[in-house]
């Protein structure tokens, strides 16, 4: 993990804001993060012990103990997030990254969070799902005045309930969340909780989406549903870290959804149970097996399973457009349209033209064609067997034999034991290849034609 003295590294920027140095002297030093990689879990150096989580492509912020109070310092500020290698997006976040750092505390901890606003507009922080005094709930205008640029506010409460929570602004939130302002909050149980199992791997991420015009860098904040960058913790496949598990490990995955649509999260090769929501742990009697759980807007889901099947298992949102990068929704379907005789003509007018889409869109995954600057491709990523044709909410659960307990490194591609891999039929070919379409394209003689006979004169 890479850290730097935040304010020392931005001395001129400090002058530009109205944060007083004297006031800052009493503040905990804000930790900051520059790397978009997954940081190793932060083993608590003090306070009550707990089993830390691993924030996918993120990190947990350290704290300062002050007379028994855990003090954190969040700085809301503009950041540049590398959403995928070579694809940079101007976001707003906390402490150098979007999402901001994960805050991990233990049930019963008294927590004091200093929030400094270095955004160009006011903000607040709402502690999604927490039991706290009303005045700490962070709803600008309702429960507190907004934190003006340059100002620092202090939130203080006891983390009363164990579970998976989030934090995000509740002031101009449409813009601020569209710009990536959010973070995870994990409250670990104090001691053993009857509904909370001990796990060996505890992963956490937030689902977020942006609308970044191809060739630009800043999300369009007014987009409601037609987002084109589908992320987990502001990263898109193939840049989302794999979730690694030793065979037999109990694995927990905590997912929070701060987009404007639901995401059916699907895991291959295993069944899991939803063991908790942001409402708390689900009693074991209320759980049922699943391979997909829908994480609705503004919800958190905690799923658990035993990683007992070796392999590289896909973990993804089941909305197929959400495992894609930007695409032209207005681009017509070209499947089955013969380009014969036209390619040369088009190339005469548009010299760099190549046919795509005639057979489907997979051409896009295979062809490496130049794209506009800073544009995330619609399909990208290559696996051991070829292009994955994905780009978005997709990663893998990698289950391996005999991994170290704290080994979170990518173990590489799975080596399939003999006889466990789909293979090509080597016998006699299938009988006379049947044409893909029995009828001429566009005609279905068995169905009544809605077309007037006269109109068919145009067909040739």
């Amino acid at each position: 993990m890479q850290r730097r003295q935040f304010f020392a590294g931005a001395a001129t920027a400090v002058a530009a804001t109205s944060v007083s140095r004297v006031a800052l002297a009493t503040l905990p030093e804000p930790a900051t993060q520059a790397s978009p990689d997954t940081a190793p879990p932060l083993v608590p150096p003090n306070g009550r012990p707990y089993q830390p989580v691993v924030t996918l492509n993120g990190w947990t912020t350290p704290w300062r103990m002050n007379q028994g109070v855990k003090e954190f310092h969040l700085v809301a500020e503009p950041v540049v997030r590398e959403v995928a290698p070579g694809f940079f997006v101007n976001l707003w976040g906390y402490n150098g990254q979007s999402p901001g750092p994960t805050i991990e505390v233990v049930e019963g901890d008294r927590v004091r969070i200093f929030v400094t606003n270095r955004l160009p507009e006011h903000t607040t922080i709402h502690w999604h799902g927490q039991r706290l005094p009303n005045g700490m709930d962070g709803v600008g205008g309702l429960t507190q005045p907004a934190i003006q640029p340059g100002k620092t506010f202090v939130y203080e409460f006891v983390a009363r309930r164990p579970g998976t929570f989030m934090y995000h602004p509740h002031a101009d939130e449409m813009v601020q969340m569209a710009m990536g302002m959010m973070g995870l909050w994990i409250t670990h149980p104090k001691g053993q909780h009857p509904h909370i199992a001990k796990v060996q791997r505890d992963y956490a991420f937030l689902i977020n989406a942006f609308d970044v015009e191809p060739g630009s860098k800043t999300p369009k904040v007014n987009t409601m549903l037609e987002h084109n960058i589908w992320c987990w913790n502001s990263r898109a496949f193939p840049s989302i870290s794999p979730l690694v598990a030793r065979r037999g490990d109990r694995v927990r995955i905590r997912v929070g959804n701060l987009t404007m649509t639901n995401h059916p999260i699907h895991l291959h090769g295993h069944e899991f149970e939803v063991t908790g929501t942001d409402g708390g742990p689900v009693p074991p009697t209320a759980r049922w097996p699943e391979v997909t759980t829908d994480v609705a807007v503004g919800q958190m889901r905690q799923i658990e399973f035993t990683a007992d099947e070796l392999g590289d298992w896909a973990l993804h949102c089941h909305k197929s457009h959400h495992t894609m990068g930007p695409m032209g929704h207005g681009v017509p379907t070209m499947i089955g349209v013969d380009h014969k005789g036209l390619v040369g003509k088009i190339q005469k007018i548009v010299p760099d033209y190549m046919v795509m889409g005639e057979r489907g869109m997979a051409d896009m995954g295979a062809m490496e064609m130049p794209l506009p600057e800073n544009t995330f491709p619609m399909m990208t990523g290559t696996g051991p067997f070829g292009p994955l044709e994905m780009g978005g909410m997709f990663t893998t659960l990698k289950v391996r034999q005999g991994l170290g307990a704290n080994d979170y490194r990518d173990p590489g591609d799975f080596q399939h034991p003999p006889g466990t891999l789909a293979y090509e039929w080597q016998g006699a070919p299938a009988a006379t290849p049947r044409p893909a379409r029995v009828d001429a394209p566009g005609t279905a003689p068995t169905e009544p034609s809605a077309r007037k006979p006269a109109a068919s004169g145009h067909q040739h």
Partner: protein, 483 residues
């Protein structure tokens, strides 16, 4: 014969000598055409190379050059050369110049002396009268008239030179318009190609069931529009070419030449046209119409000097008489000789009317000069403004609009690569880019037309109104996205 005879002949000889001294008695062998060309070359040094040679033999050689010029793609300079040799209107004008010259020379010749012979017979006498009379005025005013005719000749030459320059300018303009129109028509063909591909692909989309009849129809409509625009562009090209034929005086097989494929590149604004004030001064010194008006004023002033005298003494005549009387019976011959002077009596006309008319003529010429100078100044200013603006506009098309269109087309291709845009988006951009290049061609043409106008305004009157840069019509809407 007796001693008096030579006196008559001496008088005649003296008159002839005066005429020779005046030096203007002979008709110019090429009807002043060479002089007009020289004047044109002096006024427009850049044009000098295109002017037909002064002497007639060399000019007929140049005529044979025509086929050589027409065998290669026609350049602007060759168009000017051809026009100056072939343009019928110019040949009419130059022939008139020759006729004027002949009339001028004729006007300078002294009237022939009158020889009167009479034979009178009565009963006893036979009388033979011989009288040689001569109008004195023509002789007295010869130096003035000589000067006036020289001025008139210069005046005519200046005007003819200006006609030459205008024909050259017309040839340039017609060539620019024809070349540009041909280029624009070619651009329209490219737009039709793009629309054809779009419509064809749309039809295949509809046939496969991927598109509705509506979507296909939209692409068909674009193709129809493109065809209509192409037809208009082709007509414009043909019309411009016909105008070029007329301006160059070409027809039949000679009209089947190829045009140069592009307009000359845009030059940097030359330093000599940067200063409008200096250009005005230059025009006032150089312009042929001004020189001609000045010459006219000189002529009328000279004429005013002797107008009164001429009116008064218009019919002063000098005569010599020799009469022989022969007595029929005796055969005795008696000869009388003597001078005769004929003088009008200025009882009614003292020459005042003529003097007034002459003075008014001077006034008219002065006003004419003033008017011409005024026109020259504003023509130069207008031409200069148009030149600068059209240069800016053409440069903007070349340096900003076309690179932007290219960038947009390229970026659209990149978006097509990322499946972010469709092939119809590409074709629509191609059509828009083609429209932009047509505009760039027109802007380039407008600049060269303005350049022609400015050069002409510096040396002569603009026969046609200066190039007007139309208010831009909005770019053809590229709303033809394929979805």
């Amino acid at each position: 014969m007796n001693t008096t005879e030579p006196t008559v002949w001496r008088l005649t000889a003296a008159a002839a000598a005066l005429t020779v001294l005046a030096g203007c008695a002979s008709v110019s062998p090429d009807g002043l055409q060479g002089r007009a060309m020289e004047q044109a070359a002096r006024s427009a040094p850049t044009l000098a190379a295109q002017l037909p040679p002064a002497d007639l033999a060399a000019r007929s050689d140049a005529q044979t050059q025509l086929q050589v010029w027409l065998a290669q793609p026609l350049t602007q300079d060759n168009a000017v050369r051809i026009a100056l040799l072939h343009q019928p209107a110019l040949r009419v004008r130059l022939a008139e110049l020759g006729i004027q010259d002949a009339q001028r020379v004729q006007a300078l010749q002294l009237p022939n002396p009158h020889l009167t012979l009479g034979r009178l017979v009565n009963g006893h006498e036979r009388e033979i009268e011989r009288s040689l009379s001569f109008g004195l005025l023509d002789l007295i005013t010869l130096p003035w008239r000589t000067q006036r005719q020289a001025e008139a000749r210069d005046h005519a030459t200046l005007l003819a030179a200006q006609d030459v320059l205008q024909v050259a300018a017309d040839a340039r303009r017609a060539w620019l318009r024809a070349v540009a129109a041909e280029q624009v028509a070619a651009v329209h063909s490219r737009m039709v190609e793009a629309a054809e591909v779009g419509a064809e692909l749309a039809q295949r989309m509809a046939r496969t069931g991927n598109w509705s009849r509506l979507q296909w129809a939209r692409e068909q409509a674009l193709l129809s529009d493109a065809h209509a625009s192409q037809a208009r562009a082709q007509l414009a090209a043909a019309t411009a070419r016909e105008q070029l034929h007329r301006t160059l005086g070409l027809w039949g097989a000679n009209a089947r030449f190829t045009l140069a494929s592009s307009l000359p590149a845009l030059p940097p604004v030359p330093a000599d046209v940067l200063n409008a004030q200096a250009l005005e001064t230059q025009a006032l010194e150089q312009r042929l119409d001004l020189q001609a008006a000045r010459r006219q004023l000189d002529t009328t002033s000279t004429r005013a000097g002797w107008a009164g005298a001429a009116a008064l003494f218009g019919s002063v005549g000098l005569g010599y008489q020799r009469n022989t009387t022969t007595e029929r019976d005796s055969g005795h011959r008696d000869t009388t000789r003597g001078w005769e002077l004929e003088l009008p009596l200025p009882l009614f006309d003292w020459g005042g009317t003529a003097r007034t008319a002459a003075r008014l003529e001077v006034e008219r010429s002065a006003a004419q000069l003033q008017d011409t100078a005024l026109r020259a100044r504003t023509e130069v200013r207008t031409a200069w403004l148009t030149y600068r603006t059209s240069h800016d506009l053409a440069r903007q098309q070349r340096d900003e609009v076309l690179p932007l269109r290219a960038l947009i087309q390229n970026e659209t291709t990149l978006r097509y690569n990322g499946m972010l845009a469709s092939v119809w988006d590409l074709l629509a951009e191609a059509r828009t880019a083609a429209t932009a290049s047509a505009r760039a061609i027109e802007a380039q043409r407008d600049f060269w037309l303005a350049d022609t106008d400015l050069r002409l305004a510096l040396i002569g009157a603009l026969d046609t109104p200066a190039t007007t840069l139309g208010t831009a019509t909005p770019a053809a809407a590229a709303d033809s996205r394929g979805h």
